[in-house]
Symmetry: D2
Subunit: 304 residues, 4 copies
């Protein structure tokens, strides 16, 4: 495994077609695109790293997996009255569909859906309390208490977040947001601003590898049933309008973020985190996707 | 396995919430809704049947898997210049997206996509020649020469097919249809009108279980690579706007048809066909989906 | 003329199909639906009233005519870089088109367009200053210094205005809002909350009757050219998705508000204000439209 | 008047920004763009021509005014169960709205609406019979028996008409087309292929100038009521997604065609036909619109 990762990291190191770094906030725009990291965590506790696997990055939308998991724990299937479970087409359709479907987002991994999930788990708490709870949860599943939030990123997101504010108010106009919109958005942006490195991220996904139990720590995070369903959601909806492409090329449940990270799960086999800041046209890490495709070809880990 | 299937068939027999039989053509509307069949084909050649597993039904959209497989064999990845690989939202969006994406259907399993695939494999042939080729291919992969087409269904489809004709002309207006539209639609409707029973359908899916090889007959149908990708497409797009729901509840690649059939693939394990004519709101067999959910719970065959 | 108005008012008084009063804020919901008023102002200064012509009501969207007129005076045709001049279909399409047209509202009389106009004329002022300017302008063109704003209505609008906030943030996400969104919305809601009676409203439209000059007071409000263009915009876009219907039945430039008021202009002949709180399905005063249709049949004032 | 027209024609003759000739069929693409004609017909029978006012051109969508007028005569207000009376946004929305509004076109002047009108007046006749009737009607209202149809244009339209065929099948899928689609489209394309010159076209509009009566011939074509409503529809919907712009700049009811012709009505004053083959971005004659704008500035004929 180490050889495979080293080889992949070397191939990634020399590539020149690295995609385009997200530039809508300065904190992301400033990231050096010539970085690549990969980590593989096995259920038996083994960890393999290559490249910048210990370099922190903003996990962005990958955090939506964590907030959804937490939501399922806190309110169970009631979360599905807030968001659906179907893939959503491109950004354009997100808005059309939000209107057609009376303000109910198609799934928890598009922005509107994640905002609705944050609203659902706020349950009268202050944003700070909720964030503390989320952070504690992420540290727990990743078995790493050093994980934190980059406040500068969160504040930048907030300052430029008109599209998300529009979505939140739009849902609220259908009576679908229970808390103060500024609080919900504040919590949402902080959630997106969790910083992790590949190793931490790979470890955080271990509970999805083994039917809800992080076998390394012994912690049962969710039921077997729910773990499988989280994986199905990641496969169907984890990469925005590139979900079909990712399933086609990689064949694993996964969730990407515009920070360039991807968490991928090979059920029963491994939790994988890759990171490279350059994005493809639909917003997924270009080298990250490619690296996963290579890894899967070498390991045969595709679920298909 | 036989016990599991018998048990499921018995549970399905007594249910009263059987969904609604498709009624847009008389041949489908006339089908008795109180039928249920299931077949499981294993790579080693074992076959398990329960219920009306040998009752013929119209496979309808399940045929889109076969036409796509054939297309990949005939023109390879050039098929992806004709159709995309992303899930498509509801019917409404299909049309919007077709416009936005300049007449290129989102995937080969929506009607527009399947029509484009038929056009792609027509390659100057007469519709009859193409149909003979498709039928031969289906008989080959199912290892059953008795499989045929129900012409009455095809003619009824043609007579009521204004929506499909609209889609075809719409694509043609973007220069995306190479052959005479009436010929393409004629071939498409005959393709949809293939009659199979559960046992035949289960056998036809065996090549998708074992990396492209039907291990029972030894026939290599597609490359390993391509078989996995067909499975990913079925998982992502196989059940129209219920694809996410099917992945969530069943967790297997599958393709449904409005005749009430579903073909599902458990990679490495089994090819499964179910049939019950009553449909749920998005057009997938209601008891068929439920039966698969039960089967997967008993067998643990979910890919997640 | 007085006989015509009395007759219409009497016919309106006894009708039972009065439409449905807007109920999204308590201040509008509480209005007695059994009211009807009509005023006709002639360029020579004559005024004819019937029914509750001196009962104040919330002019709501009718104010968009005043803010647009003011904007044309302040920044001239630069306003057309902010909003378009084409009719917009139903609410659904407003959002789709806003996306397709990169956040530029189709016309100044839909909510998004009016918000953009308010943003355009804010020009660094405080909302209070802007409101004072608008109010002064309305008093000037109506030649009535008693016209005021109903703050309770404005605050209610603000409290329930998630859809408008969504539109404003949406436009802002395309870089199309220059001022603080809360300030813009605050000003917008106060603008909508101007209270007028039919007589005041009819007088306020006189400048549109006579090529930009209120002949009663002698005040030139806009150029002849611009007055005619304001009329054309009112005809094309003045009644949301009922604009075609209004043009078809009444045949005059007009602007309606959900408070139940309508201002209609018969170029060269008269300015007409009607008010009845009950709305039809697309949000225009039901009896108001009917009364105008009757008035036009009696007077032949249709522009066609 | 003759001086005004001569002056306008001279100004148009020397302009170099003439727009782009429609090129989707060879018969239109071959038209020399350096042509301009204008005719004004007054109710008292006076006719003023300038430029190529006697050069035949394909009236294309202007014919939709004639088919609608005929339909109102044949089936009265029942035509409004087939088509609506609201403006339709851009082509994109036409399709979305057709879906949202269950196959009912927004108005009789978009292609889908005109196809529905042709279907409505076919009433079991053969296409040839219908065309004979339409042609007779156009000759009657224009008082000119030499008006004919250019069959080559019609056949070219038919050969390239996938978008229209798509619309027709789409409406048929909602049960909204009563006759054979090929017959309806055949009739529709022949209708669009009527050839007229500016003088004939101006004369054909005289009944819309004088409340339904062609005062030159004395023929009552439609009721006063209906003539005014036809004018309102032309103003609201006569120039596709440029209707607002035309109303804003010209201020007259009008209908354009991609052949470069425009028929405009100054109620009570004049019927005006202009022709110049180059089109602006939304498909209306560029110089034609400009010439009308100039004419209206000189004559003050704007309805506003």
């Amino acid at each position: 495994m180490q050889n495979i990762l080293d080889d992949i990291a070397e191939q990634m190191r020399v590539r020149t077609d690295r995609g385009k770094v997200a530039d809508y906030i300065p904190q992301l725009a400033a990231v050096n695109p010539n970085q690549f990291g990969i980590s593989v965590a096995l259920p038996d506790g083994q960890l393999f790293n290559a490249g910048c696997a210990k370099q922190l990055f903003s996990i962005q939308s990958i955090s939506k997996v964590f907030s959804l998991t937490l939501a399922l724990g806190k309110i169970g299937d009631a979360v599905w009255s807030k968001v659906g479970r179907e893939p959503s087409g491109n950004a354009f359709n997100s808005i059309v569909q939000l209107e057609l479907e009376h303000g109910k987002p198609r799934n928890p991994f598009i922005n509107a859906g994640a905002i609705a999930v944050v609203d659902a788990i706020m349950m009268g708490h202050e944003p700070k309390e909720l964030l503390a709870e989320i952070l504690q949860f992420v540290r727990y599943i990743a078995d790493d208490n050093s994980i934190g939030i980059d406040d500068k990123v969160a504040l930048s997101e907030l300052a430029t977040g008109n599209r998300n504010a529009s979505l939140a108010h739009f849902m609220a106009s259908f009576g679908r947001i229970d808390h103060d919109i500024d609080c919900v958005l504040g919590a949402y942006y902080h959630l997106c601003s969790i910083s992790m490195n590949c190793q931490q991220l790979a470890k955080s996904g271990l509970f999805l590898v083994s039917d809800g139990v992080n076998q390394t720590t012994g912690a049962r995070v969710v039921s077997s049933h729910r773990a499988r369903r989280l994986n199905s959601l990641m496969l169907m909806c984890g990469h925005y309008d590139g979900s079909g492409e990712f399933a086609y090329r990689v064949g694993l449940p996964g969730k990407s973020g515009v920070g360039g990270g991807i968490l991928a799960i090979a059920p029963g086999k491994a939790s994988i985190a890759v990171w490279s800041p350059g994005l493809d046209k639909v917003g997924n890490s270009k080298l990250g996707s490619l690296a996963l495709e290579m890894l899967i070809q070498r390991t045969g880990w595709s679920v298909f």
